[in-house]
Symmetry: C2
Subunit: 204 residues, 2 copies
């Protein structure tokens, strides 16, 4: 499969292309690498090069058909299907995740939420009722969940992440300010504002 051949940094840009295309779709049916580049802050050459990794999407001179490109990118990213998510940790960040409408609008559905705090277990949210973290093995299996969002204190993150992986989780979006050390086949993405800030100050 092409999965191993495409550099991960390019794959990481595709969701941004998708978001830009959805904005452009409101007023246009076609676009081109120059217009996309201006919206995204990338060069037109970069965009042509990135997209060429996945096949022929546009024609010289006429540009890209937006609907077609959106459909292809969604297919490439495997987001032309629904995904269930397990939320681990229902503190401040966990609550913001449960209340955020943007996930299910994009076919990511929080199927279950767990916590270890007895005061929180049993609390009802629109999407689910908080369950006991002790039951995650069964919850993951019953709901066939592959993706977890980890919103626990930093000191518990590694241990819980290892348990999630042992129970079948294949991808973790980590909100805990901790680095996770997991087998290479497990996908980990970090949602860490501090890392973003420290990246920007390099240029200031």
């Amino acid at each position: 499969m092409i999965k191993t051949q495409i550099p991960d940094v390019i794959v990481g840009r595709l969701p941004r292309y998708l978001r830009a295309l959805k904005i452009l779709r409101e007023n246009h049916t076609t676009t081109n690498s120059k217009e996309l580049g201006e919206l995204l802050g990338f060069s037109a050459a970069q965009i042509r090069k990135d997209l060429s990794q996945f096949g022929e999407f546009g024609k010289q001179g006429t540009g890209y058909n937006i609907d077609f490109l959106i459909e292809r990118l969604q297919n490439i990213l495997n987001i032309d299907q629904d995904w269930g998510i397990l939320l681990v940790g229902v503190g401040k960040i966990g609550r913001a995740i449960l209340n955020y409408p943007g996930f299910s609008a994009n076919r990511f559905h929080v199927k279950a939420a767990v916590d270890c705090n007895p005061d929180v277990i049993g609390e009802r949210f629109e999407k689910c009722t908080v369950e006991d973290i002790k039951d995650i093995k069964k919850i993951i299996k019953d709901n066939q969940i592959k993706i977890a969002m980890l919103a626990v204190p930093a000191e518990n993150a590694q241990k819980i992440a290892e348990e999630l992986v042992a129970d079948g989780i294949q991808a973790i979006l980590n909100y805990a300010p901790a680095i996770l050390s997991l087998p290479p086949e497990i996908r980990v993405e970090y949602s860490d504002p501090l890392v973003s800030l420290q990246h920007m100050t390099y240029y200031l």
Copy 2:
């Protein structure tokens, strides 16, 4: 200066190196590219190559002195100083930002918060009292703020971002689910869980 010569993707990895080094420091005084790589999920070769961009940090065979490397990376990233931050938008995400202790523990200080909602303006938080968004020009100037966190609805993000830039902001951490189109010299980082999720599903 070296700023323009180092690829941004490498700069973006330095904050992660820093975090890993701070974890290692708790039990070690030296480390090496293999150990760092295992903690971060990068290859040892990648780490040696990245760090070599910024000078000689370690010796063949003896590895890196952790304190020295932390100090150097903090200096390179310009985080051996305090930074003031303007928070724009005090909704759910804005409140989580105001209550998060991790920023000021790392020398990023929310100096001011603004909103347009009269019910929110005047609300007191430990770090600041919410001010009227109409006054941002003066707030940015008085506090000499260069960094903004944007936590407003998507439909207002571009317009407000343009105003921030006109008022002197040079870097924006964008929590709004919108792509910002700004002059190339303005640094924009996105805190967007959806982009992270859509990146991971490629591999599932």
